[in-house]
Symmetry: D2
Subunit: 288 residues, 4 copies
């Protein structure tokens, strides 16, 4: 028996960079950038020989220096960084650059959008992860922190019962969910901003309009809607928290509660995870 | 020397209630309600005699039961609850009901607002605290989680220097701040929703348009704008985090950085706190 | 009516400094330091004239520079910083320095304490706040993040009932609480480390041994035990979260549950706040 | 092209159960239990037919009901739950039960351990994940929230330099890390408590005593020490945050700083991830 080094990677995580593009009006791009490099790093693990190691401090510097050029969409910026690490450092065989973008909206002042003042536009973040190897690259993008709720149009019944079942069936329940969606792109020449905006719109519209018999059904319909409309998306993975809202029993107080007053519980929660894909999608390779 | 009980209060904190108003279109109100009761509670502290104690479980039930009636604005709901505890329980001499409202926006589907599907609209919360005693009451409302940023229009120079000063003066800096604002209402017949909306608008517009020589100056101008426009507001307290964005030195990489690439730091941060009031404002009493 | 500036203060918050004292064995002190200065700062608020303003960046530098000298207990360090700002800057009439200390314990290696390797010793933090004015100063110290639980020895019954009461009385409940305790010192020549250690010990022992008829009773007994034993403590303020653990109803599964299986709920929680003091305690002044 | 359902699983996450074993002295076990079931769940995704679905509410009930029997170590409890879901529900082909255990220590009162009063013993959690299929099962255990620091005995030099390198080499740096370790067990008849305690001890001792030329080297040595000593552990995965502590430049204040005063930075941080395994380890199957 010999002890050996298995999979490994390292990098600088969560470099928080804000890029201002100045002019008559300013634009800002607020990104948290994480880098993970894999490759020929056995020596540093076994002997502390760092000759192949690109310090994480250098990686941070690279993020800032690269942000001096026009950033473009986060997918563009992630790819640019990923290609750099793979091409400039022989020991690096795979670079994954993950970016979370925090949204800002222009403040309206005097009825007009202000040229250089902004308010944070929600807790939802736009995500991307570009993975680059010598002769291939993959882009996975997505959303995190999206909170959705429908106050009707959701049922849950006909489920399997056993010795531990106490849940009553319902033909009308509140459905609230925190969504993390990540989708893998295929092909080239993709309009990242449009693809993202449309994927987001389709996820929300489908959540709203699909009558739900289970959160799984809603999840699948949301993924299906994206794949049907966006040929550049090969696969979508959805992770949806079922954030339970319980109808409060008001009978002890002489009141009816016809799905009007809910207690929003923190934990436990349901966690529904699923992938929707195409049967002819290109293999995912090292995308995830 | 005798050991004695001093100030004390107790209550149920963070009851998370969601109220749905059903009809052709649904409306939702998502509130986290905290209650604190003060009064004649010496016995439970000294001997464990609970005969004056309204259990916090009962307080929670009361929140849910009261939510069955139309909730109105959070200020209305807080007052209704506060008055109840003071009037129905002789031992309770002061009730403070604090509510944070989480915002939701209707999802747009097929170009139209959906009747019963919603997306969470940001991490900013609307706040209120109603404090009721037998013969008086006070309302303090506000905002928390508001993040603002201006990419120019801010300077910082002419400050006091000492042995420990290394900060260079600047005529152009990024100014980013997390704001918590709370304002005390005076008078009666107040339109809570309009007052809140206008106070919020004035805070944002002033942040945007006031050229800033210090965050203190910005804070004062924001408070002043609210007081000038809203006679129903007697006093406003602002707590503003100066979330530092440092210009990254790109010279080692042969690049200039003319306020374009910033490192957003988490800690430490500046914390600027100030009150703006009227010289003839009614006393705050137990409002805070 | 004139709009005026009311109470205000500003400073650098959460400067995270770690001080190593090197020798044959190393000692470390891990502190998060927050400073708030009040005084003659009207000009910066009204006109942006910063001539009285000690930049928060300078305050941060001062923390680091002062940490070069032996730090001592956090109370010593806070006082040293507080006195500096009041004495060296005429505009500063009050300086409050708040410190949270993160605890570390030496790692045991080969059966012996290691001279320079440490593991973090829990999430509880030791706190202090020193408030200095020209001719007086106050020290408030304490603990936050202390979690206590007793699985029996707690009752709750005999409380006031009303239309909204559904809680059954209990002669045996689990009592779990997150404690924040802060106590004000009086007198001089205090041994900060001993006083802190003993106050902590007394809080824990009293929580453990006092049979509880209400969390209020437990709170008072804890405070009383500290004041009885420690003459240097004039007043103690306790904030205790009642973190509810509900007995799960297992009858649907044919099982009895005699206070064995509990569901630990996150929210809502009870919040019990109280002050225990001496009737002859010196006035608190600006201590809090 | 057809759109199809890919990998999916669902379950109840973060059921927080506290089990008290009563007697002359009480024992408590504080666990957060998450369940994920995979299997034949296509129908609910495609049509909302829930006949195969074991509701997450039932899963929660099962956790509580199973906790009525003696819990044992978290690995025992996770296996018992996992086996139940796979064996009792034909549609379930894989059940993964993940448990985080929160540690409590007995309060010392009057010099003796108290029989039923406890204090929370740190923020570190013991972890396990048991994965069960019809004819196999795997156990992965570990630790999260472990914070380690050494104030000397760490160097970093000889790394690769490029256009973006500014980091100076160092022969003496502070090394602070937040560790998540997870290890896969092989074989049977394992003493879970002893294996966990020893793995933890070896990780800490190795961190302390191994002179470090890189965090990668430290990571590998920690994993190697565990594998060398514990034959029941087949593989260990370590994720270590390099929590940077920067030596503060005190020269502007006329002071030397010989690795005494550090600024502890939050973000960005280095993230070092690696696996240490045996060349003859049994395949991991669905363990992870």
């Amino acid at each position: 028996m010999t002890i050996v080094l298995g999979d490994n990677q390292y990098g600088k995580a969560e470099t928080h960079v804000v890029r201002v593009t100045r002019g008559a009006t300013h634009d800002i791009k607020d990104m948290t950038v994480s880098i993970a490099l894999a490759g020929d790093f056995t020596a540093t693990h076994l002997t502390g020989d760092n000759s192949h190691v690109v310090p994480t401090d250098t990686q941070k510097n690279t993020v800032f220096a690269f942000a001096k050029d026009p950033v473009g969409e986060i997918e563009d910026f992630a790819l640019r960084l990923g290609r750099h690490f793979v091409s400039d450092h022989r020991a690096v065989t795979r670079a994954r650059v993950t970016i979370a973008e925090q949204p800002w909206a222009r403040i309206t002042a005097g009825g007009k959008p202000h040229p250089h003042a902004f308010e944070r536009a929600g807790s939802e973040q736009r995500l991307t992860a570009a993975t680059c190897i010598d002769d291939a690259e993959w882009v996975v993008s997505g959303i995190t922190g999206l909170m959705l709720l429908k106050s009707t149009g959701s049922e849950f019944w006909g489920y399997r019962e056993d010795h531990f079942t106490t849940l009553p069936e319902t033909r009308d329940r509140m459905l609230a969910t925190a969504v993390e969606a990540r989708w893998r792109y295929g092909g080239s020449g993709i309009d990242w901003a449009e693809a993202h905006g449309e994927a987001r719109r389709l996820l929300l519209e489908t959540f709203a309009t699909k009558h739900s018999l289970s959160l799984q059904q809603t999840l699948y319909a949301m993924g299906e809607a994206v794949l049907e409309a966006r040929p550049e998306i090969a696969e979508i993975r959805l992770s949806m928290w079922n954030k339970h809202h319980f109808v409060v029993d008001l009978k002890p107080f002489g009141l009816n509660n016809e799905n009007e007053v809910f207690y929003a519980s923190d934990r436990p929660y349901g966690l529904i995870e699923g992938t929707v894909t195409r049967d002819d999608a290109a293999p995912a390779g090292q995308a995830w």
